[in-house]
């Protein structure tokens, strides 16, 4: 008997950690209690991307979007929505500055501007059920590829669609496939790179969690095109849920005869195994990943030979990112023309970004290539919270660069599709592989960290460099020694001991590390430093010459003082700061203005946090 209503409860990692599974259990219990179990079906789905407001649930077929649910809300919700047929307004999402809550998911700006290809089934299916995936036209592209297309035709289709590697470098996927197909050596391997190590990025995890079969189908089509016999899914061990779901999906595909020998009577033999990564960032680099799969230390090696010729176990190997594989089936389904209409001239299709940082709507979004940063940050992201000014956006994870907000005196030249040239704000930069590279950053796997005026750019570059320095494998000299020395210099600058010689050395080392490192990690590790040096040089100079941190982030450079007027007039010399100061550096009597002894102050900032009257001023 068909159900009247489907409750799609999000069970992505974000919502699960917000207790969405308890919400689901409560919901099921309540529905049974009300005798609705034959009318209302509860489905656990993968991540919807809007993690900022989880746990969330979508009620289909109307598409009503409920957010920030708790078990207490459930009886009301069942009563109102499922029995009385009235959607519950107070559980709906209200965008900032909007007058009323928006009931429908498709009307919410966060979702409205998105275009879902890789994440086409997110929130719509139970990722642990292959039947759900098949019901959403799953594995149809495989059938088409096996029954109607030759391997050459598949590669041609992918090439003409303009699909490029979503792992960051943007190598044309079709070209890679053809190389592996033509390379001598049997058996051939294909690998799904799910070693998503960028801090704050969770695109691959989300695809595994919400739609694992889309990856398997992509790999199957790839296997047919390339002539591969075995596939490997390399996944971070820090993704337990994703790991579990891809394993379930592979098992189900085997049971359905979609993996194994003679798949769908086509003569294609292909099977997938799962390898868990041990947590090294560098294992996302393809040669290091192969070494890791082979059981060796995850160190990159010099290329050439490329994995397309000499990969896993010395055989031709095609490595693609999770998102790339997830894009394959729709292209085969709908044809290259459909896909190539989306995006810019050189970057086709959509890209999944994880939008984090100082932005209202943090979460995962899939948008067409060519969308501007302004649309991403303001329309989808909802802008910067707390009336702060947008300062910069960091793209491409720790290896990417920082793109500044509009610098009106340095606008970029934008070539419109009709050939007209105009000066534009960086915020109006249409995002694709080339435009990001041109401004010194990169697409990377799709991390977007938004920063507001309270962010110190020197500190940001130090933070990202500390990450890459820690994750450097140590094989080549520039990355091993260079990143460490760069970090030392940045630490000196942040602590106020930097000199102009340091700055020159920093620039020179950064250039050499970028030019001469062995693998992608080293080649991109200086990007945050180089872009901040390019766009925010004044901040470095402020740290070095004036010994000041303009954003008041670098504590060693701050001075703290108490405004005597505010302290007395508003706070009546309450003395909270004096009691809390661990160094006993604050002096003063009750009802008298307090003051900080600069010789004792260790600049810990506790006084700022405890003062209710904002009387402590940081300079």
């Amino acid at each position: 008997m068909p159900y009247r209503v489907h409750c799609m409860v999000c069970a992505g990692t974000g919502c699960v950690s917000n207790r969405s599974l308890e919400v689901r259990d409560a919901l099921e219990k309540e529905i049974r209690k009300r005798g609705l179990q034959d009318e209302v079906q509860v489905v656990t789905t993968g991540c919807n991307g809007f993690c900022a407001v989880g746990p969330l649930m979508v009620v289909q077929p109307d598409g009503i979007f409920y957010q920030q649910l708790s078990t207490k809300d459930i009886p009301l919700l069942v009563e109102e929505h499922f029995i009385k047929g009235r959607a519950v307004k107070k559980l709906m999402y209200t965008p900032p500055e909007a007058p009323a809550p928006i009931p429908k998911m498709s009307d919410i700006p966060f979702f409205m501007h998105q275009r879902l290809i890789a994440l086409r089934n997110r929130g719509l299916i139970d990722p642990e059920k292959i039947e759900d995936y098949i019901a959403r036209d799953g594995y149809q592209a495989l059938v088409k590829a096996l029954s109607q297309m030759t391997p050459e035709q598949i590669i041609e289709e992918i090439t003409r669609a303009g699909l490029r590697g979503r792992g960051g470098a943007g190598f044309p996927t079709g070209v890679k496939w053809r190389k592996v197909r033509q390379a001598p050596g049997e058996p051939k391997y294909i690998i799904c790179n799910g070693d998503e190590g960028d801090p704050g990025a969770f695109m691959d995890r989300s695809i595994f969690e919400s739609d694992p079969h889309s990856v398997i189908e992509g790999m199957l089509i790839g296997a047919r095109a390339i002539g591969a016999r075995y596939g490997v899914v390399y996944i971070r061990n820090e993704y337990p849920l994703a790991l579990e779901r891809i394993q379930i999906a592979i098992q189900q595909a085997r049971e359905y005869g979609l993996l194994g020998e003679n798949i769908l009577d086509s003569g294609l033999d292909f099977d997938i195994s799962v390898t868990r990564g041990a947590g090294a960032f560098v294992c996302g680099e393809e040669t290091a990943l192969i070494a890791s799969v082979e059981g060796r230390l995850g160190d990159p090696r010099a290329r050439p030979p490329y994995p397309a010729e000499y990969g896993l176990w010395g055989k031709p190997t095609c490595i693609n990112n999770v998102e790339t594989w997830a894009n394959v089936a729709p292209i085969i389904m709908h044809g290259w023309q459909w896909y190539s209409e989306i995006g810019t001239e050189r970057s086709k299709g959509t890209k999944v970004f994880s939008l984090v940082g100082k932005v209202r709507n943090t979460g995962l979004v899939e948008v067409p290539m060519g969308i501007t940063l302004r649309q991403l940050i303001y329309d989808i992201g909802g802008g910067i919270p707390g009336d702060k000014k947008f300062k910069a956006v960091q793209t491409g994870g720790p290896s990417g660069g920082c793109i500044p907000a509009g610098m009106m005196d340095q606008p970029i030249e934008y070539v419109a599709p009709d050939g007209k040239r105009e000066a534009r704000d960086y915020l109006d930069l249409p995002i694709d592989y080339e435009s990001l590279t041109d401004v010194g950053s990169m697409m990377g796997s799709g991390g977007l960290v938004v920063m507001d005026e309270d962010t110190c750019m020197v500190d940001v570059s130090r933070y990202f460099l500390a990450f890459t320095q820690d994750e450097s494998c140590g094989a080549c000299t520039p990355c091993r020694e260079g990143t460490k020395l760069m970090l030392d210099i940045l630490n000196r600058i942040v602590d106020g001991h930097g000199t102009m010689d340091d700055l020159r050395a920093l620039e020179e080392i950064a250039w050499v590390v970028k030019q001469t490192s062995l693998c992608g990690l080293g080649k991109t590790a200086p990007n945050p430093v180089l872009t901040t040096l390019k766009y925010f040089r004044d901040e470095y100079l402020a740290h070095i010459e004036a010994h000041k941190c303009p954003a008041h982030v670098c504590r060693e450079l701050n001075t703290y003082r108490i405004d005597p007027v505010i302290c007395v007039e508003r706070g009546h010399g309450c003395g909270v700061c004096r009691r809390e100061c661990p160094e006993k550096a604050i002096l003063g009597e009750k009802n008298q203005p307090h003051r900080i002894d600069p010789t004792l102050c260790k600049k810990c900032g506790v006084c700022v946090d405890v003062c209710h009257f904002n009387a402590v001023i940081v300079e």
Binding site: A302, S472, P478, K484, I489, I509, T516
Partner: protein
């Protein structure tokens, strides 16, 4: 062929040639560090970067591992290349300021001292610079994989697994060989404490057994060869132009049918360490005669120079005769050669170290051969000291600085009737000649007899000193008894002549005296088989009887007496025949 341009010079190279190889061909210098010709290119140090022209500008690539491409334009000395190399070397110099290879590179790129100090700064001149040549050769060439590295980034270290002595290590020393900073040194246990020139044995896995070896071809020591331990290496196969190295060759056992055999299995040397009073193997600078022969050899480890362990020539040398020979406790016989070679040593030491005093300690001077006595007189005239008396012991002289390493020989000088202590710094022991250790086995194999001293017994000491009691079997040389080279040559020539005589004659005469088994009486008990000293009796499995091989039987009669069934008789000497002969004699005509 691929054509490319390096520094403006056009050249053509084979496909797969790296930029470094092409530059080497054009004699364009490119600095390298982690590169090693035996190893696969690794591209870790990044010192060898060169500038390669690309459509949108240029790219800095490592020359060691990037293969040449058609139309490639390479430049090795542009400003970006110089800057990149300078900074890369500076990064290394900041961490390893005193390592010679790094300093040399720094000098090449015009760098005196680094601008910064690394937190991991290591001032040792033999610090590990993480070129990983050792790890790679152990994996790629040796195949042992005994070395690896741990931790990542700046904390990376080359280690054996878990920092423990690696079980996988085959002690080949390849890692030490390729280490550019001597961070890894190779000290095999056997050689510890001895200077390299005193490594008296072979120390590589391939060597010519002796300088005078016939045929003069090298052999592979399976116990030392890396290939047999790890299945890797095979560098010798790569370098041998004649393609003569074949690891799959094994020892072969050949069966050759012959009519006559000459047993010349030689002798062994008495183990002098048994005589603890002489200190051999316990004290330094005490050698056997064969050690000294090797040292005196021009192809030997010291090039023929007499040297002490510390590398200096000796000031006084004691040569002790009759070590183990003419000794009631060990070997009663005279080894016959020691007196003369001891005098030869005295002569050679006098010749090569004229400053050195030489003392010969003898019981009797046995200079019996042609010209021997004259040689003895000559050595005496050269200033060698001879002391008649058996050496009691050799001891360490003392513990003061100037006495260090000096030995003291204690003996009784029977000619002057006094007890003497003579300080020397080198002692040469003239060990006794002994039968080969496997003489017993050889004797059984050939049915040879041995005299009480253990050497093989000839048929007759005076009338037939080269033959043995078995026909067609001859002995020569020290296998038969201690003798010097002229005697050995004489005996061997005689044996050869005897064998040739038989061959020339074409037929063999055998003694008619032999045993015979009456198969009707033989019960197949096989008592005779084990008793026959000539292994002339064989057992016929099919007929369950024994049979005498009449060509081997010497007619000794042992089996005749032993046969419990009385089935064996001497041929022509049966009881009835003897009885008939007796009867014939006793018949009264």
């Amino acid at each position: 062929m691929i054509s490319l341009t390096i520094n403006g010079t056009r050249t053509q190279v084979r496909k797969g040639t790296t930029i470094l190889q092409a530059a080497k061909f054009l004699e364009i210098p490119i600095p390298t560090l982690c590169y090693h010709p035996w190893l696969k290119p690794f591209g870790a140090c990044r010192v060898c970067v060169v500038q390669v022209q690309r459509p949108h500008g240029y790219e800095l690539l490592t020359a060691c591992n990037i293969p040449c491409e058609e139309g490639m334009i390479v430049q090795t000395d542009t400003e970006p290349v110089r800057q990149a190399r300078r900074v890369v070397v500076e990064l290394m110099l900041a961490r390893w300021p005193n390592v010679p290879v790094v300093r040399k590179l720094a000098a090449e790129v015009g760098l005196e001292k680094p601008r910064f100090i690394s937190e991991m700064r290591d001032e040792a001149p033999d610090a590990c610079i993480l070129c990983l040549r050792c790890v790679r050769i152990c994996e790629e060439v040796v195949g042992a994989c005994a070395l690896g590295y741990e931790d990542r980034g700046i904390k990376r270290r080359v280690v054996t697994p878990f920092d423990q002595e690696s079980e996988a290590c085959v002690a080949c020393g390849a890692c030490a060989h390729v280490c550019p900073t001597s961070h890894i040194r190779f000290e095999p246990e056997d050689y510890r404490g001895k200077p390299p020139e005193f490594l008296l044995g072979p120390n590589t896995a391939i060597y010519v057994t002796t300088p005078q070896a016939v045929p003069k071809v090298p052999r592979i020591d399976r116990d030392a060869c890396i290939h047999f331990k790890t299945d890797g290496c095979q560098k010798c196969v790569e370098v041998c132009e004649a393609k003569a190295v074949k690891h799959e060759m094994t020892d072969e056992e050949l069966e050759i049918e012959v009519g006559q055999i000459l047993v010349a299995t030689g002798y062994d040397l008495f183990d002098a360490s048994v005589m603890a009073q002489y200190g051999y193997g316990r004290l330094d600078n005490i050698y056997t005669a064969l050690d000294i022969e090797r040292m005196l050899n021009a192809t030997g480890p010291t090039g023929g120079q007499i040297r002490l362990k510390n590398g200096r020539p000796p000031r006084a040398v004691g040569i002790i005769h009759c070590v183990g020979s003419r000794d009631e406790n060990y070997r009663r016989y005279c080894s016959r050669v020691c007196c003369m070679y001891a005098l030869k040593f005295a002569h050679l030491i006098k010749e090569r170290c004229p400053e050195a005093e030489v003392y010969n300690f003898y019981i009797d001077m046995r200079a019996f051969g042609k010209g021997y006595e004259e040689f003895y007189s000559r050595v005496l005239h050269e200033g060698a000291n001879v002391i008649r008396g058996k050496v009691a012991e050799v001891v360490q002289a003392g513990w003061s600085k100037q006495d260090e390493g000096t030995l003291l020989i204690r003996c009784e000088d029977t000619l002057i009737g006094k007890f003497r202590e003579i300080p020397v710094d080198m002692v040469i022991l003239c060990n006794a000649i002994e039968p080969q250790r496997d003489a017993e086995r050889v004797a059984r194999l050939f049915g040879l007899s041995r005299s009480p001293d253990g050497f093989f017994l000839e048929r007759h000491p005076k009338l037939d000193p080269v033959a043995t009691s078995s026909d067609g079997l001859f002995v020569a040389g020290c296998a038969q008894g201690p003798k010097d080279i002229p005697d050995t040559v004489a005996q061997a020539s005689a044996a050869a002549a005897r064998m040739l005589a038989t061959i020339a004659k074409g037929v063999v005469e055998i003694d008619p005296v032999r045993a015979e088994i009456n198969e009707e009486y033989c019960s197949g008990c096989r008592v005779c088989n084990a008793l026959c000293p000539y292994e002339a009796i064989e057992y016929l499995e099919d007929r369950k009887v024994s049979r005498v091989n009449s060509a081997l039987c010497k007619g000794c009669g042992t089996c005749v007496a032993a046969c419990p069934a009385g089935a064996i008789t001497g041929y022509g000497f049966s009881d009835s025949q003897l009885q008939a002969e007796l009867e014939g004699l006793l018949t009264v005509r």
